[in-house]
């Protein structure tokens, strides 16, 4: 079976349309960051206490809210977590109460106010405000270090212009995924950051396969223009790009459907990231190389550079 015999789609000619699409997605995504309360940082980054309780009988969020109001907490948030009897209760850390006492306070209030509703504690997360701050810094640092390492590696294995194209494409992927999280008001915690980094790795994987083809074709298709070479390379690797993206998408989608509440956000980020990453390695990463090169150099330069490698 084969999806494409030998495709001849002119991706390069359509790159301007792709740029417009990418730019609008980026602008909407980044713009949404300015809505108050976005991006919706999870407990890892904002600190506080979150408790997941599973009640034996059906119960409403309102009843839990009433129970909590008896102890006068700061801002709190109650939402369903997975199955219908499971709730996640988030409370801000209060001044003067040690971080880990908040959970006990909440449990105490519920046990006392709702003595008939027995529950089981599924999960408790308490993050001090300072830790939240540190984790946020660490996450940003991690993404930056990853990008830097990639820049160096690709710069070494290919040409500097490829490295720039790849980094911009990766940044594009992460920012769009981040923007989609922000628009949908999905929570961003450590696991989602891990997903973003994985998207970086994945999308890069795709991009490199195309770059590799370009590098190879620069040597064989001596008489062709850079645009043709790039377009041919994208077409030649298209089949592989689509198939790998499909299988990977299958698995993360399965994870999204059946993986449970705990990794829901992670799986969702991966689903989005794979689509965006695949798109960017077809339409953005190589097109950037072309535009940069037509402005700053020529094909010969690239060819010469790659002869050595």
């Amino acid at each position: 079976m084969q999806f494409f015999q030998t495709p001849h789609i002119d991706f390069v000619a359509r790159r301007k349309i792709a740029y417009v699409i990418s730019a609008s997605l980026l602008i909407i995504g980044i713009g949404s960051l300015f809505i108050p309360g976005r991006p919706n940082y999870g407990i890892d980054f904002k600190g506080g206490t979150s408790i997941v309780l599973r009640f034996e009988k059906t119960i409403t969020a309102g009843k839990i809210r009433d129970a909590l109001s008896t102890i006068g907490l700061g801002s709190s948030e109650i939402k369903r977590f997975g199955t219908k009897n499971e709730f996640l209760i988030y409370v801000e850390q209060q001044k003067g109460t040690s971080a880990s006492d908040m959970a006990e306070k909440v449990e105490g209030a519920i046990t006392k106010t709702l003595p008939d509703d027995s529950y089981e504690i599924r999960k408790v997360d308490t993050v001090g405000p300072k830790i939240g701050e540190e984790l946020r810094k660490a996450a940003v640092l991690a993404v930056l270090i990853a990008l830097l390492l990639i820049l160096i590696y690709i710069g070494w294995r290919f040409e500097f212009v490829f490295a720039v194209g790849a980094i911009i494409a990766l940044f594009h992927d992460v920012m769009i995924t981040f923007g989609i999280f922000s628009i949908l008001n999905f929570e961003i915690s450590l696991k989602e950051i891990a997903a973003f980094l994985t998207i970086v790795g994945y999308s890069l994987n795709d991009t490199i396969v195309v770059y590799d083809r370009i590098r190879e074709n620069l040597k064989v298709m001596r008489s062709e223009s850079l645009a043709t070479i790039i377009n041919t390379s994208i077409n030649q690797s298209l089949s592989r790009t689509i198939i790998t993206s499909m299988t990977t998408f299958f698995v993360v989608f399965v994870l999204f459907l059946f993986g449970g509440e705990v990794i829901h956000g992670f799986a969702f980020a991966m689903c989005v990231g794979i689509i965006v990453g695949t798109y960017s390695s077809i339409f953005v990463a190589s097109a950037l190389v072309l535009d940069w090169q037509t402005r700053h150099g020529d094909k010969e330069h690239l060819r010469m550079a790659h002869k050595k490698k």
Binding site: G108, K123, E134, I243, V252
Partner: protein
């Protein structure tokens, strides 16, 4: 070709044997029936089996993850020769800066001292020490304190009995603790987080105590002169069943609004999660003696000055006021009892005035054991018997000898457990502590006393607890996800690449087996994101094969023979596979570096998955292709 294949055969067979060997304990553990499991446990064979199986992270098997921070400001304050207001100020400012995200405590402290033009030598070090020497000395003390804390926490946890705990130092002032499969998180926290500073302090004379109360009363009455409680609608009278106990005359207890005592300031008086915003005061006394009105005399119940728990916070607040602090003798301090007592339908906490200077501390303790009291008074209640070392015995003997008929408070972490009247000199260096709620608390106390006191308090800055049921759910769910993903991907590969797809599927199965075997062999921790990483690997592992197959198809299209097409396909795809995987590997390493627990688990499975998938794609599938084509010359390849 033949010899190369022989080598590969040996390699693959060897790896397969190793994988089965590495995975065998995990397989056995997971297929145990509950009865069999119990049997093995009784024979003591379960733990070794678990030790050889894939190690599950806290998020899968349930447990607790705690990060403690050593309170350096308190430690430095303790080290100071003099403790005055100025020092408190400097330290609290330093602490605020520390909490705002700055890292280096010592640098901040030095900076704040310099700003105020105070030399370190004013508080620390010995006469003649240079500033630099003092700084180094404090740093050394802080480092020592960290190491001692680590050791003490390790001791406590060991005695608590947790399998495979992780206790490690993070940075200059944090300790990370992982306690897998813990059943009672609150108890564990109580045990670990206790400073466990045991002190023996003499009680101040009751006359001094009542004198202090009088002074505070006068001060408060002057200030609140105008406030007289009136019967309003919100101030509902509360009948106090213990009223006979209070003073000589019957007291008229009633609930008053907090603002009556504190003006408009907002305070919470609730202790033990009571949302009660009113205080219990003795109406007859309130006008003249606003402070005394918060207290009760429970002498006929064997207690002295006691405070209804509703009032505890208010009393604390009054006592913390600067002007009130001045009324307390400089060598004395107030301390609460550890337990509350119930009289009628009200609970009380006893208030003690003790000497600041401790006669003896837990430093001299050599042993602590829990026994059941044989006392007439406490029969059947648990008590902790302790033994002092030689020096401690000498001090204890002297103190008890010199203070017969006086009361000695035994204080653990600023809570008075008991304050017995000394009957006779105690020369043998042993004693007992009562006042524990139950057997568990007594056991905990014995453990912390044996392990010793922390040099400074520790605070929880991060805590994550996963209940065992959620862990099991996560395992089940991700198992299913992995299985479904496997089926989809394998089916797709067969449909799309036919026989070659089947070979890739075989590689995929090997991939999974090897990945798990590496996890088991090297005792990496499998977490929930780790399983997500495995699932992701399933999707991405076929990539290397897809790259090769697409290349082979291209070569076949150009009319090359099967044999040469396969060779060329592998040769050409190799560089691409390498470049693509190295970059993913790099992101995995970065993730490992920056992540904690669960995220690290993900980075690990992702990294192993990548390496293993490269092996299976480049060596294993190649081997299968070679074996097939070696026997007969194929004219057509099912790809």
């Amino acid at each position: 070709m033949q010899r190369k294949n022989l080598f590969k055969t040996i390699l693959i067979v060897f790896l397969l044997c190793w994988a089965i060997y590495a995975l065998w304990p995990s397989y056995k553990l997971n297929t145990l029936t509950p009865e069999k499991r119990k049997m093995l446990d009784d024979e003591g064979k379960l733990i070794p089996l678990i030790d050889k199986s894939i190690r599950l992270g806290l998020d899968l098997q349930g447990g607790m993850y705690l990060t403690y921070e050593l309170d350096l400001p308190v430690l430095v304050e303790q080290l100071a020769r003099v403790k005055d207001k100025q020092l408190t100020e400097v330290l609290s400012e330093t602490e605020q800066e520390l909490n705002a995200g700055s890292e280096d405590f010592m640098a901040l402290l030095m900076n704040n001292m310099e700003k105020r033009n105070i030399p370190l030598s004013q508080y620390w070090g010995e006469h003649g020490d240079t500033e630099k020497e003092i700084k180094e000395w404090i740093e050394k003390e802080a480092k020592d304190a960290m190491n001692r804390s680590l050791e003490i926490l390790r001791n406590r946890i060991d005695q608590f009995g947790v399998s495979e705990p992780i206790i490690q130092k993070i940075g200059a002032r944090r300790i990370l603790i992982e306690l897998p499969g813990i059943s009672d998180p609150d108890q564990a926290k109580a045990l670990i987080g206790k400073t466990a500073l045991l002190e023996f302090k003499m009680l101040k004379d009751p006359l001094v105590f009542s004198d202090v109360i009088n002074k505070i009363d006068k001060a408060l009455a002057r200030e609140k002169g105008s406030i007289i409680p009136e019967e309003t609608e919100e101030t509902k009278a509360v009948k106090d069943t213990s009223q006979k106990a209070a003073e000589q005359q019957p007291s008229q207890d009633k609930a008053i609004g907090v603002s009556e005592l504190f003006g408009d300031e907002e305070i919470t008086t609730d202790e033990q999660e009571k949302s009660d915003t009113s205080l219990i005061v003795d109406e007859n006394v309130f006008k003249e003696n606003p402070f005394l009105a918060l207290l009760r005399d429970l002498r006929q119940y064997g207690k002295e000055v006691s405070v209804p728990v509703e009032n505890v916070k208010a009393v604390d607040r009054i006592l913390a006021r600067e002007d009130i602090q001045k009324l307390i003798p400089p060598d004395a301090q107030f301390r609460w009892s550890s337990e509350t007592i119930k009289v009628g339908d009200r609970e009380y906490r006893e208030l003690f005035l003790v000497k600041k200077e401790a006669e003896l501390t837990g430093k001299y303790l050599t042993d602590a054991k829990v026994t059941i009291s044989q006392d007439v008074q406490n029969t059947g209640l648990p008590e902790v018997n302790f033994k002092l070392d030689r020096q401690g015995t000498r001090i204890f003997s002297r103190v008890t000898g010199a203070n017969i008929e006086k009361r000695l408070a035994i204080i653990l972490d600023d809570r008075v457990y008991m304050a017995p009247r000394i009957q006779t000199k105690i020369p043998n260096g042993s004693g007992r502590i009562t006042g524990m709620k139950n057997m568990d608390e007594a056991k905990m106390m014995a453990i912390v006393l044996r392990a010793g006191a922390l040099p400074a308090p520790v605070q929880i800055v991060e805590e994550r607890t996963v209940g065992p049921s959620l862990g099991q759910d996560s395992i089940n769910r991700s198992k299913w996800s992995a299985l479904i993903s496997m089926c989809i991907v394998m089916l797709f590969m067969i449909v799309y690449y036919r026989m070659a797809g089947a070979i890739a599927d075989l590689a995929l199965i090997f991939n999974l087996v090897f990945l798990l075997a590496v996890l088991a062999q090297f005792r990496f921790t499998l977490t929930l994101p780790g399983i997500a990483g495995i699932v992701l690997t399933i999707g991405m592992a076929v990539d290397a094969n897809v790259l090769v197959f697409e290349r082979i198809r291209e070569e076949l299209r150009t009319g090359k023979t099967v044999r040469t097409s396969i060779d060329a396909g592998y040769a050409r795809a190799f560089k691409t596979i390498l470049d693509a995987n190295v970059t993913t590997l790099m992101t995995a390493l970065v993730l490992y570096q920056f992540g904690t627990g669960p995220i690290r688990g993900f980075a690990i499975t992702l990294a192993i998955g990548i390496v293993v998938s490269m092996f299976t794609a480049l060596v294993l599938t190649r081997y299968v292709f070679d074996t097939i084509t070696a026997r007969r010359t194929l004219t057509k390849l099912s790809i």
